[in-house]
């Protein structure tokens, strides 16, 4: 096997399970959606939605890199 990209290989990061790249993208998307929904329900009256977007994107990067 000559994988060009190592990230598709399963690995153990700070997430409790072994993940590969797809898993981490999937988890990021799930969290992104969840944050937005909860934000709209509970926080949007106080803070605009784009804060949620930035927050979840940051989180996504963290997960993709170190998850």
């Amino acid at each position: 096997m000559n994988d060009k990209n190592n990230s598709t290989k399963p690995r153990q990061g700070f997430l409790p399970i072994t993940t590969n790249l797809f898993d981490r993208v999937f988890i990021s998307v799930v969290i992104l959606v969840a944050i937005h929904l909860l934000w709209m329900r509970f926080l949007e009256a106080l803070l605009p939605l784009w804060i949620a977007t930035i927050l979840s994107l940051v989180l996504a990067v963290i997960i993709l890199k170190w998850g």
Partner: protein, 296 residues
């Protein structure tokens, strides 16, 4: 190890068909979910609405309640099916007169179309027409009317689902039980373990992957129940059995609120996928556990 190209080749037709019939409509639904679109509104065109549909959704009590009662229904039904299925599967591992016959007949409900299941149960439970209300009243003096009492209607739906799907769960469990290795059980008996201990420390852990897989496949189907419930209760009495599948149906069909209905569908799909993904992860790690346990 063979070349991945052959592997992809074998996989390709499946992926193509699912992409056309699954992914393409999904993308379209995602797209529509961002629009206000009802052909019978004053303006029949699609109007871009950003995340407004979702904003409405998280505050929509009808939707949230519907979600809640679907979850309650699915958990009740699947849990009962698991317990019943397990007990019945246990009995089927033993020999007794007529076993093959019973096992065959038992699988019958699996073969009935969901819409016919709903119709059958409706005939069974319809006040004035069905034997169930009649005999419950005659024998126990019980006023059974699923057109009036919401808890009875929910219970009837759970019973119907149990009737329809317990055979499936039983057969899967039976298959699992048969294929368990004999040695650990014999060893445990030699060691003087009682039945409960054997069940708790041997059977359950060894069956875990199967239990989880069954929960997985059953939850997935129970959460999107439509045909049976539609036929049996129409979501009534009141709105007490208006499961999410029927709720979406109402929004998309008679109300023709395509945008909102699409957003709602997606949110439900999202929740189902997350739930099933958690189960999936649990299954995978349970299997790994098992493999390691065998090796160790």
């Amino acid at each position: 190890m063979q070349s991945p190209r052959t592997g992809w080749g074998l996989l390709a037709p499946t992926l193509i068909i699912l992409a056309i019939t699954g992914l393409l409509p999904f993308l379209y639904v995602v797209y529509v979910g961002f629009f206000d679109w009802n052909p019978f509104a004053a303006t029949k065109d699609m109007v871009f609405a950003g995340v407004n549909n979702y904003r409405r959704l998280v505050f929509d009590n009808d939707f949230l309640q519907s979600l809640g009662r679907t979850l309650v229904f699915a958990v009740c039904a699947v849990a009962s099916e698991l317990v019943l299925g397990f007990l019945l599967a246990q009995t089927l591992t033993k020999e007794f007169p007529g076993k093959t016959f019973f096992r065959t007949v038992f699988a019958l409900p699996l073969m009935v179309a969901p819409i016919a299941v709903g119709a059958t149960w409706r005939l069974l439970t319809m006040p004035g027409l069905g034997p169930l209300p009649y005999y419950l009243d005659k024998l126990f003096g019980l006023n059974y009317n699923i057109g009036i009492f919401s808890d009875q209607a929910t219970l009837t739906l759970v019973l119907m689902d149990i009737w329809h799907w317990t055979p499936f769960v039983t057969l899967v469990f039976l298959a699992g039980l048969i294929s368990l290795p004999k040695e650990p059980f014999e060893q445990a008996q030699v060691d003087g373990a009682n039945r409960w201990q054997i069940f708790r420390y041997l059977t359950v852990p060894m069956l875990m992957p199967i239990i989880l897989t069954t929960v997985f496949i059953r939850m997935m189907d129970a959460l999107r129940i439509v045909d049976e419930a539609w036929m049996l209760t129409n979501g009534g009495p009141g709105t007490s059995t208006l499961f999410i599948g029927i709720h979406i149906w109402r929004i998309v069909f008679p109300k023709t609120d395509y945008g909102y209905g699409s957003a709602m569908s997606l949110l439900v799909l999202y929740l189902t996928i997350v739930l099933c993904w958690l189960l999936f992860v649990a299954i995978t790690s349970a299997r790994q556990h098992e493999v390691e346990g065998m090796r160790g």
